[in-house]
């Protein structure tokens, strides 16, 4: 088994008096898909935010490979190869699907002033390449969506917006993908399709590891290699879906059975 790609130790996040994430330990290996579950307000999204540099951690340490990435700026985290989706969509609604994807592909684009304004050969080449790759990526999720590459996101139905968000996070070929309830508001069928597409994409991106926050237990059961359960900011269980779903603490706090 390969060494952990991402290693989190003792991560703590506070909002005033509230400890939203309490001394959280977590490890993620290459190609692994970990389901992160827990009751509402248990700190799942906060974990993503602390990881991606949006909230500064009060204490703790995060390493990616051999690099310490604790408390770095969001853009540095992205450069290091971690991308995410947001629980509440954060797309630029007035921009086209393509533009939104290209925001996600920032790392692979050329941002020099000279080349962008004057010698535009390179720009042209990059645009053409990226139109192709965007279209291919979208097609993996939804063929009709791929034909709307140049429509504004505002015109898309919610479900397609979610797809665009996932694609935006995938297009730069990250090492780690953080998904925050990607299937919220979808029917079972749609959720299943999205997950299938996601798994298919994973096949094409060797090494991609995913952390998935999800309240739909069927999904977690089907796709996750391992589960981590949070409650009141603390890890209360970890292991395979079967182990975790059998844990009585998890059942009481989260699943609400027995």
């Amino acid at each position: 088994m390969s060494a952990p790609t991402l290693d989190v130790t003792g991560l703590t996040v506070r909002f005033g008096g509230l400890v939203a994430l309490n001394s959280f330990d977590f490890a993620l290996r290459s190609e692994e898909l970990v389901g992160l579950i827990g009751p509402n307000g248990s700190g799942k999204t906060t974990f993503f935010n602390a990881l991606t540099g949006i909230y500064p951690p009060a204490s703790g340490r995060v390493t990616l490979g051999n690099d310490d990435i604790t408390g770095l700026q969001p853009q540095r985290i992205y450069d290091a190869g971690i991308t995410r989706t947001f629980q509440r969509l954060r797309l630029a609604l007035s921009l086209s699907v393509f533009d939104n994807l290209m925001i996600g592909n920032h790392r692979n684009l050329y941002h020099g002033i000279k080349g962008n304004l004057f010698g535009r050969k390179r720009l042209r080449q990059q645009v053409e390449e990226n139109v192709e790759s965007s279209r291919r990526l979208l097609e993996q999720f939804s063929a009709p969506l791929a034909t709307r590459l140049f429509d504004s996101v505002f015109q898309l139905p919610m479900i397609d917006r979610r797809r665009v968000e996932v694609c935006r996070a995938l297009i730069s070929s990250p090492q780690i993908l953080l998904l925050d309830e990607p299937s919220a508001g979808m029917t079972h069928e749609e959720t299943r399709a999205l997950m299938d597409d996601l798994l298919a994409s994973r096949e094409r991106m060797p090494g991609l590891a995913i952390i998935l926050i999800e309240h739909e237990m069927g999904v977690i059961e089907r796709v996750s290699d391992r589960c981590v359960v949070l409650n009141y900011g603390q890890k209360i269980a970890e292991g395979s879906y079967r182990d975790v779903s059998g844990d009585h603490k998890v059942r009481a706090a989260y699943l609400g059975e027995d």
Partner: protein, 305 residues
């Protein structure tokens, strides 16, 4: 520097601060409800003062133009007229544009202010010249050394602060205020909760414009003079005060108003050329904004990811 002098500066500063605060409170109110900057606010202040002046002319015809009673009547007249004007403005220009980018509202109110100013200049009898404002408050004053403590100043401070605090309580403590704040956050959901969106907007504009009129009349009573251009700088300063204090908070508006008055007074005393006081005050504002980017009484941030 002797005590009387310091007290005099303080007193002047306080009256000035009250006037600024009243204007700032209006800005905060509009911002709070529709997320718009209403740049015509300063001119509404001016128009309020002129309406009161016109009402006074009317009273004089009836031979009733003296004393506190007349002051009360013209104040009410000014407030009612401006409140109506505010509601009409909201109805005709602000509401139809509420789906347009917010800066468009800013521009449209700016132009409305210009139109208002030019109208007073052109259509108020001899409107391009300064007008004396009647001295209606009791002309009593006591002198302590260098301090001339005037009763009218004290009255104006009390009325002004009372009005601001009253508006604050209205917004924070009443059902109407709750509706106003809900509309500010999300108009559509507010409607789903059974709130009459239009009425709330009209009400807020009426309230803010009424407050502006009061500021204008206070200004007139205090300086005994009004002119059609008085709203220009007052508007900018009121906006600055509202922002420095922290938009959306009425107490912020008060703090901002007094801060601005204080900075100007200090600037005027400190510099050999008092005209530098505005350079000083606005310079301080820039520094303050770098230090406290969302105002002194920062809004509690409700943003999360």
């Amino acid at each position: 520097m002797d005590f009387g002098l310091v007290a005099q500066y303080l007193l002047n500063g306080i009256v000035l601060g009250v006037i600024y605060s009243m204007v700032a409170a209006g800005f905060t109110l509009f911002f709070g409800v529709l997320n718009v900057i209403k740049f015509s606010h300063g001119d509404v202040v001016m128009a309020g003062a002129f309406t009161a002046l016109a009402a006074f002319a009317g009273l004089e015809l009836l031979d009733a133009g003296v004393g506190m009673f007349a002051a009360l009547i013209i104040t009410v007249a000014g407030i009612v007229a401006m409140a109506t004007l505010g509601a009409v403005l909201a109805r005709m220009l602000i509401l139809p544009l509420r789906n347009a980018p917010p800066l468009n509202t800013l521009l449209i109110t700016l132009m409305f202010g210009l139109a208002l100013r030019e109208s007073v200049r052109l259509f108020y009898p001899n409107g391009s010249n300064p007008k004396p404002f009647p001295q209606l408050l009791p002309d009593l004053s006591m002198t302590f050394g260098n301090l001339a403590l005037r009763l009218d100043s004290v009255l104006l401070i009390i009325v002004g602060l009372g009005a601001i605090v009253g508006v604050h309580l209205l917004i924070q403590r009443t059902r109407i205020g709750l509706a106003v704040r809900a509309v500010a956050q999300d108009p559509e959901t507010a409607r789903i909760m059974g709130i009459n969106f239009e009425r709330v907007v009209l009400l807020t504009f009426a309230l803010g414009s009424g407050l502006a009129a009061l500021a204008g009349i206070t200004n007139g009573l205090y300086y005994s003079e009004v002119n059609f251009g008085m709203g220009l700088l007052l508007g900018v300063i009121g906006f600055s005060a509202a922002v420095v204090g922290g938009l959306g908070s009425i107490y912020g508006a008060i703090i901002g108003g007094f801060l601005f008055a204080g900075l100007q007074t200090i600037g005027a005393v400190w510099f050999a050329v008092p005209a530098y006081k505005d350079v000083f005050a606005f310079g301080c504002i820039i520094v303050l904004m770098a230090w406290k980017p969302t105002g002194l009484l920062a809004e509690r941030s409700s943003e999360r990811v």
